[in-house]
Amino acid sequence: MPIIVLAVLVVFFTFLNPNFFSMRNFARIAIAASPFLMVTIGVTFIIIMGSIDLSMEGTVSLTAIVFCFCFLFFGGTLGSGGWVAIPLALLAGAIYGALNGFIHAKLLIPSFMSSLAMGFVGIGAAVLLTGGGIVRIDDDIFRSLLTYRIQGFPLMVYVAILFLIFGIIIQKFTVLGRNLYAIGGAEDLAAASGVPVLRTRILAFSLAGFYYSLAGVLQVAKLGQAESVTGANLMFLSITAAVVGGVALWGAIGGVFNALIGVLIVAVINNGMVVIGLPDYLQDGVLGILVIVAVILSTNRSNIRFVK
C-alpha cells in the first residue's frame, strides 16, 4: 500500500512538472535520502521492538565529527590511512548506541526519556569536540562517494543500498531480528521463552547507533563537513518516515523495507514541493497534511483495536 502512495506522489509531481521525472532528479532525491534512510532504518529496529529512540540527532552529529577528526588524524586522505576513520566512526556509533540502550534497559528508564537525554548528551559532546567550529574534509577520493557516479547515481547511494540490504538480512534472517519482533509482540512471553530481553534491547540500540553513524559518515560524504548540527532535524523526520512507510509505533509490525518506502515518500514530497514551485511558507503545512494522508492510507487498521 505505501508503495502505491509513493507511485501516486511521483505521478502527481511529474504531472505538475515533467522535470521531476528524470534520472538526474531521482539521483538528487537519492542523495538527499541516503543518510536519512540510514537513520530511519536504525530507528525502525527500535520501533519494531516497541520502543522509541530519539537520540539520532546527537549520535549522527557526534559520529560525523568523530569520523572527520579521525580521518584528518590519519592523514586526511583515504589513501594515507584515512579509511581507518570509517570503522572507528561506526564503532563509536555502535558503542554510543549500546550505552543508550544500557541506560534504557538496565536502569529501566523508558526509552523515550533515556534516548532523548542521550540525544542532548550527544549534541553536547559534539559541541565540546568542535568547540562549535566546522570540520571540513576535502579528500577527493573520499568525496567521490558523492562525485563519482555509476548509472547516474553517486557511489553513496549504492553504499546506502548495500546497508539497506544488510538491514533486511538482519531483520529477516538473524536471531537478533527475530527477537526484536518477539519483544515487540509480547515482551513478557518472549522473556519467559528464554529470549535474553536485556541483551537484545542493548544490541538493538547498538545496531541503531551503528546505522546512525553510517548516516553520519554519509552526511560528511554529502557535505564535505561535519559540525554539531550535522544531525539536526533528523529526529521527527525519520520517525515520521518510518510510520509513513507502514511501521507501527506499537511495535512488531513493518520493517526495514517499509522504512525505505517511507523515506522515499518523504524525500519525494520535500523535493517535489520545491520542484513544482510551492511557496516555501506553505511547504511545512502541505508536508504535514500529506503525511497524515499517507499514514492513513498505508496503515492496515483491520486488527487495531485502539491507537494512542
Binding site: 528508564i109 526509552s111 548528551v121 562549535g132 511558507y281 506553505l282 503525511v291 487498521r301 491507537v307
Partner: protein, 316 residues
C-alpha cells in the same frame, strides 16, 4: 512505619529530587536561595509551565502532543496581528483556535487511527505554515499602548512576586479542578488506564480523547498568548525551544507515557525541576561548550531518581 515512610518517599521522589537540586545549587551559590531570584525563576517559567500542563493531558491518556510548540508559535503571530482589533477578546479567540486545532489532531487520531505522535506533528506543521503565511514571514510587534493598557499588569509584579506567577497559579488550579473534580478528568483517567475497559463502561472514548487533545491545544495556545504579551510581539519561530523542555517537564514530573498515572501536580514539580536544572548551568558556572552535555547528564540522573519504576512491569 518504616514501610510507610519508604512508600511515602517513593511516591514523592519528584519532590525529593526537586529539593535536592535546589539545595545543591543554592549550596554552590547562595544567591540562588534569594527569594527574589527564585520568584523570577518561577515567573519566567510560566508559559512553559502552561504548555506542559496541556501536554500532561495528552500524555495522561497515553498519547502525546508534538504540535504544542508550533501552536504557540502560530498564536504569538495571531495575537500580535489581532490584538489591536480584538482587544481583550484576543485571549479567548486564541484559546479557541488552539482548542479547535488540538481537536483536529484528536479526530485524526481517533477516527483514522493515526498515532498521535504523527497526527500532532503534522498538525504542528500546518500551524507553522499558517504562522508563516499570516505573519508574511516577518517578526511582528504588538500595538504597544493596547498591550500595556490590557495586559500591562501581567508584566509588573506585586511586591516581589511577578504577576505571571498568579496567572500560572490560576491556570494550574483550573486544570487541577478538571483533573480531580470534573467528570472529564475522571474519564481521562479511565481512558488512560484502560481504554477498552472505559469503552466497556460506556464511556465515549473517542470523544474523551479528542477533548484531551483540545485541552492540550487550548493550553498551548494560552501559553502562546502569554508569551507573545511578554514579548509584545510574535514570529513564526519565536516559541521554538518550548517543546522538548515541556515534554521533559511532564515526564520528569512522573507522568509516564503509558498514561493513566501522574497528573498536573507532577507536571508542576517537573517544570520546576527543568527550570532549576536550566538555571543551575548559570549558577554552577558550567563552561559554555559543556552546558548541553551537562544538561543531558543531569536530566538522566533526575529521571533515574524521579520516576517510580516499581509499578512498571515492562519498560518500553
Amino acid at each position: 512505619m518504616k514501610q510507610n515512610f519508604q512508600n511515602l518517599l517513593k511516591s514523592n521522589f519528584n519532590w525529593v529530587t526537586l529539593f535536592a537540586l535546589v539545595l545543591f545549587v543554592g549550596f554552590v551559590d547562595p544567591n540562588f536561595w534569594r527569594p527574589s531570584s527564585m520568584l523570577i525563576l518561577l515567573g519566567d517559567i510560566v508559559p512553559l509551565f502552561i504548555m506542559a500542563l496541556g501536554l500532561t493531558f495528552a500524555i495522561y491518556i497515553g498519547g502525546i502532543d508534538l504540535s504544542a510548540q508550533s501552536m504557540a508559535n502560530m498564536i504569538t503571530v495571531i495575537a500580535s496581528v489581532y490584538l489591536a482589533s480584538l482587544g481583550m477578546w484576543i485571549v479567548p479567540a486564541c484559546i479557541l483556535t488552539g482548542a479547535v486545532l488540538g481537536a483536529c489532531s484528536g479526530i485524526v487520531t481517533t477516527r483514522f487511527l493515526v498515532p498521535s505522535f504523527i497526527s500532532t506533528l503534522a498538525i504542528g506543521m500546518v500551524c507553522y505554515s499558517i504562522a508563516q503565511w499570516l505573519s508574511g514571514n516577518r517578526a511582528l510587534y504588538m500595538n504597544a499602548e493596547k498591550r500595556d493598557a490590557l495586559f500591562g499588569w501581567m508584566l509588573s509584579s506585586t511586591g516581589i512576586i511577578p504577576n505571571t506567577i498568579f496567572v500560572g497559579a490560576g491556570v494550574f488550579i483550573f486544570v487541577l479542578l478538571i483533573e480531580r473534580k470534573f467528570v472529564l478528568g475522571r474519564r481521562l483517567k479511565a481512558v488512560g488506564s484502560a481504554e477498552l475497559a472505559a469503552a466497556a463502561s460506556g464511556i465515549k472514548v473517542a470523544r474523551v480523547k479528542v477533548l484531551a487533545f483540545a485541552l492540550s491545544g487550548g493550553l498551548a495556545a494560552l501559553a502562546g498568548v502569554i508569551f507573545s504579551i511578554k514579548l509584545s510581539g510574535g514570529a513564526p519561530s519565536i516559541a521554538n525551544g518550548f517543546l522538548l523542555p515541556a515534554i521533559v517537564a511532564v515526564l520528569v514530573g512522573g507522568t509516564p507515557l503509558t498514561g493513566g498515572v501522574g497528573g498536573v501536580v507532577n507536571t508542576l514539580v517537573g517544570t520546576m525541576i527543568v527550570a532549576v536544572i536550566r538555571a543551575s548551568m548559570l549558577y554552577l558556572e558550567v563552561d559554555a561548550t559543556h552546558q548541553q552535555m551537562v544538561f543531558g547528564l543531569i536530566l538522566i540522573t533526575a529521571i533515574v531518581f524521579t520516576i517510580d519504576r516499581s509499578k512498571l512491569t515492562i519498560v518500553k
